[in-house]
Symmetry: C2
Subunit: 392 residues, 2 copies
């Protein structure tokens, strides 16, 4: 029998994806996914733009393209980032095949076996899977309503000399929906500068914002070139084209470029041209307003239903944006047991344990509201609440 590399021993198929398979039955009210509502995908716009791009560019857009990506798209992204308070340029941006790819590349660039990566507890499960390939140690730092506990982080950095990378989602985090306070953002930047550590700032949800004020990204506060910013079109435009981006200081971006070359040469060039043209011809901010209005309404309905139907001794977050609400049940409740029970009543969510790199906390779970119709949200939360009341 052929042998696999040792790194494969620690890597399992995603729990979430296995649960999602069960939820393909249309009768299931699924709060499990982390996906946008496809009814907002710009299907007709992409159809028109593809015709336009192929007429204008012909075979050029179907030929091998540069590893760093299609320049007009990189320029458009730089313009959007600058408008959002960052200071960057197309030269610092590389297009990647979804921001997930940026997580794989970051671990490949910064982590040797046994090095430590710092992350929020809990954190995005897909990032943990991507990092695990490189066999690091995970140092989890607890989070509260202001984000990562930076005092605890400082202690961890002082006492562990093997930390090589910090991974955070400061805006409307997956899985909790929490956003970091301005102070915590400042604290993290100071610590990264002091310890010369790269911060991977994952920001797929920053544009899905229900309030008026946005807090500055870590990237916008970075004076030392320590922040690698990952952006995504998956939640705001559509995920199927697999286009995201990575912004880093030039010497760091060059390393990412070398990694990209040997990984998949470049990202689908037609998709890059399509998005560049979309950003040029359409009002993306108006599009964001439409989806944000809908997602905010769904969040509100879910929060109301939670207050109405969940047991009073459960806590939950109140996200100011993004796709998720995080629920904590009193101990010793177990969210995996709860899931098995509610699946029988055609409701699904993701147990919280999945989102911890080391030993998980068993009494938490994640709810998604972006891809469930308003009437089904109330019905699903009601069912879930009833099962919880009978169980915990």
């Amino acid at each position: 029998m052929m042998q696999f590399a040792k790194r494969m021993e620690g890597i399992k198929a995603s729990d979430i994806r296995e649960i999602l398979k069960l939820t393909e039955n249309p009768e299931v009210i699924s709060f499990a996914g982390g996906v946008p509502d496809p009814k907002f995908f710009p299907v007709n716009e992409i159809r028109e733009i593809t015709g336009l791009v192929l007429r204008e560019m012909g075979g050029k857009v179907l030929q091998y393209n540069t590893t760093e990506g299609f320049l007009p798209l990189r320029q458009a992204i730089a313009a959007r980032m600058n408008k959002a308070g960052m200071t960057t340029q197309a030269e610092n941006i590389m297009i990647i095949s979804g921001s997930q790819q940026g997580l794989d590349f970051s671990a490949r660039l910064f982590l040797d076996k046994g090095d430590a990566v710092v992350c929020e507890s809990p954190s995005y499960a897909g990032a943990l899977s991507a990092f695990r390939v490189y066999m690091p140690e995970f140092i989890e730092i607890s989070t509260d309503d202001e984000g990562m506990n930076t005092f605890e982080l400082e202690t961890a950095l002082k006492t562990n000399d093997n930390v090589k990378m910090v991974y955070v989602i400061p805006n409307f985090q997956n899985p909790t929906g929490k956003s970091w306070s301005l102070q915590r953002r400042k604290d993290l930047i100071k610590l990264a500068n002091r310890f010369s550590l790269p911060i991977i700032e994952d920001d797929p949800y920053g544009d899905i914002c229900f309030g008026d004020e946005k807090l500055p990204t870590l990237k916008s506060m970075d004076t030392e070139g320590n922040v690698v910013y990952l952006g995504s079109f998956s939640k705001t435009f559509c995920p199927g084209l697999r286009v995201g981006w990575l912004d880093a200081a030039s010497p760091v971006l060059q390393k990412y470029n070398i990694i990209k070359q040997s990984s998949d040469i470049h990202t689908n060039a037609l998709a890059q041209a399509e998005i560049a043209r979309y950003l040029e011809l359409y009002d993306f901010d108006a599009h964001l307003d439409v989806i944000n209005e809908t997602y905010k309404k769904r969040r509100d309905i879910m929060l109301e239903a939670i207050d109405k139907y969940f047991p009073a001794n459960c806590n939950h977050t109140i996200p100011g944006g993004g796709l998720f609400i995080w629920v904590q049940m009193p101990e010793p409740a177990n969210s995996r047991d709860l899931l098995l029970k509610v699946l029988q009543k055609n409701v699904a969510f993701i147990p919280g344990e999945t989102f911890y790199p080391n030993e998980g906390i068993k009494n938490t779970f994640r709810l998604n509201y972006s891809n469930v119709g308003e009437s089904r949200i109330e019905a699903g939360i009601k069912t879930l609440g009833q099962v919880m009341k009978n169980t915990i």
Copy 2:
């Protein structure tokens, strides 16, 4: 200053890509690339099909899709592979973001640091870069007109107990254009079975075949599930969409699937649907006939020009398909020095040294004929021959 992982020390930007940047000047007659001629890309067909797919599938094709890929495309690929003498099914096929991604994934799956990978000497430079990330030892096996020297391979496998993977390109190899004889293919399968070794069979050029008879793939001879077959649409359809595939026995494919999940979740779904529809609605084999006729003509012109203009003490291969001719000059000629000289006369090629994982042989180089117009082939080879006669 932030620290990079140790694996980055051995990884450099691709030589070839740096040279290709110099050849963007349209006055340069470039035999350097390994790219198909974009005039054959099905631009209009893709435009029509994209409209069709988006009208039929709507947002579904722009949503997150399954990691293994779009089922109708996997079915169409399985049908083509079966027609070509292999025995497979959609369940054994995973769609990847170009077959380059399959090289990265294969090294990730099979190679721990210090493990050995066996490859042909010389071999595809992009594969060597992809493997280097995982810090293996490279065992190069010499090749002759029948392909890899399998006697030498047997000795290597007997004397090295750290070999974990064999990487080969049996059809119209990059960089040499050589194809393996039937006997060598049989020998390799026997050795892989005897030593329980996975063979990565990279076959991007198999369909670019100038003769009538095709030799069976290793996949078609595999009875033990040791062969991982990598297929590509980049040379025959177009590279810009970044769609390739991987065929492996089920337990092995499951591992690749887990790797794909954490790498980029799935390959661009619109591109997958476009290619599936193309294979359904158009005659891909007729398309292959058209490009093969052209590339054969270009090969013939290049061979004729080589005979006419190159020094008589140079050897070269006569490829039966694919994109490349390999030239060996008498020692101590140095192809890097030659390149610098001919670049001044606006001709380019790739020095052979790039294609060796360990110490390279300096008197070889690779010529591409697929993306150079007929009249320019003769002119470029004439210039190259004149410089060679003055130099070596």
